[in-house]
Amino acid sequence: MMQIEDIQNEIIDEFSMFEDWEERYQYMIDLGKDLPLIDAQYKTENNLIKGCQSKVWVHADLVDNKIIFTADSDAIITKGIIAILIRAFSNQEPQDIIAANTEFIDKIGLKDHLSPTRANGLVSMVKQLKMYAIAYQTQLK
């Protein structure tokens, strides 16, 4: 299994190949389209992340001591961003998710290139993933 840091480096490598914003955004849009849909029963008010202009739902399951994240959004670029986050954090152990740093988001130019409100949404998304990890970590103890 790949470590979070390795996956993040892989994502950074991929993004470094893009020459302009168009390629970068087209990639995120395509990622958004490919994101497997969240089970409808999890698109609840409880799973809704506050702080985003678009709606974002995140659900987490613990399977064999690893967290599996699923998510959805009504905006496609937002979905692309979650797809990236899920790739980095899903199928990992809670303690690793809690400890992971999130500098790769800056390194792939996401934070800079998104409007402030969306950047806030991004921060809220990362926070939510880590909150799930903390909650499951407590359960495991």
Binding site: W21, E22, Y25, Q26, I29, Q53, S54, K55, D74, A75, I76, I77, T78, H113, L114, S115, R118
Partner: protein, 404 residues
Amino acid sequence: MFNVEKIRQDFPILQRQVNGKPLVYLDNAATSQTPQQVIDVIVDYYSNFNANIHRGVHTLSQEATDKYEAARQTIQKHFNAKHAHEIIMTAGTTHGINLVANGFSSLLKKEDEIIVSALEHHSNIVPWQMLCEKTGATLKVIPMNTAGELIMNDYDRLLTKNTKLVFVNHISNALGTINPIEAIIKKAHQVGAAVLIDGAQACPHIKADMQALNVDFYVASAHKMCGPTGIGFLYGKEAWLHKLPPYQGGGEMIADVTFEKTTYADLPHKFEAGTPNICGGIAFGAAVDYMNNIGFAAIEKYEHELLEYATAELQKIQSLKIYGTAKNKTSVISFNLEGIHPYDIGTLLDKMGIAVRTGHHCAQPIMNFYDIPGTVRASFAFYNTKAEVDALITAVKKAQMMLS
């Protein structure tokens, strides 16, 4: 003679680039840009006149006071208020609304009713909800039709002898609808209700005449009409301003203070507690002068041309839907592309240097009416050009291609 290229030279910010592209600023309904003539007044104030106003005996204080009071008179003349003291300087539209709402909280009884419109901004709904919670009064809403126009027959039915206050915006921020405020005011007065009009969206497009409208209260913000943020005004008929209790306590608003009793100052100072936004007030006056030099008739005519052109061009884009198709509207176009979230469009437009607003525009009831999460809103000012409309069209098409 209206010359848009010459006017654009007055606005330094229009020369800048965003994401490597020339800025196309189409978020004027949120805030307008500031011409050099107004920026110069701000610099001049802090360079030469900065002092606290009223009561100071020294020269600087008197000069600053004169300029601030001259600005009040400029605003009075522009909006044709009968008296300068009917112009209360506020921090902006929201402040003005809250001032009136707070004043009415001591005047309303349980059986009283307040009417607002379905086209209101959140800042025009929340203070009245709070007021109703406090007083037990009832809030009623004038509904709208699918074009985004208020249904006046329903308004007639809502008005009763218990109606104490009617609150409507002059122009809807989300859809650009120009509301028939003359009729709204007249009918409210027939049942003895007072009327407060939110002119925030109207002030950059229409020269509203307080006496001709016979309106009781009117509020607006300077930053919508080429002035700075943090300053606006509340117009109130003299009799009403005497009737309303003060909003905030502090310096400036008193005549006499002992620990037993305070006598309030005369109008307008009764409502202007504390040191005001002096520089902002003076710059507001300069902004009003600037817009009058261009001329509101010329501005209206030009913006209408822009609106017609932009509407026609946008409608050519496949599966684009415009929300708000009132016969009477200003240069605001709210739209969506079928199957695409407005936020995705806004994000990509920004990458192309185009500033629009996306979201619910602080008017969630309107979005709920259309059952949409929000819209993309392009709002045009007199310094925008047809070439900028073309840039918007090209960018929307490109975003649509990337997203579908």
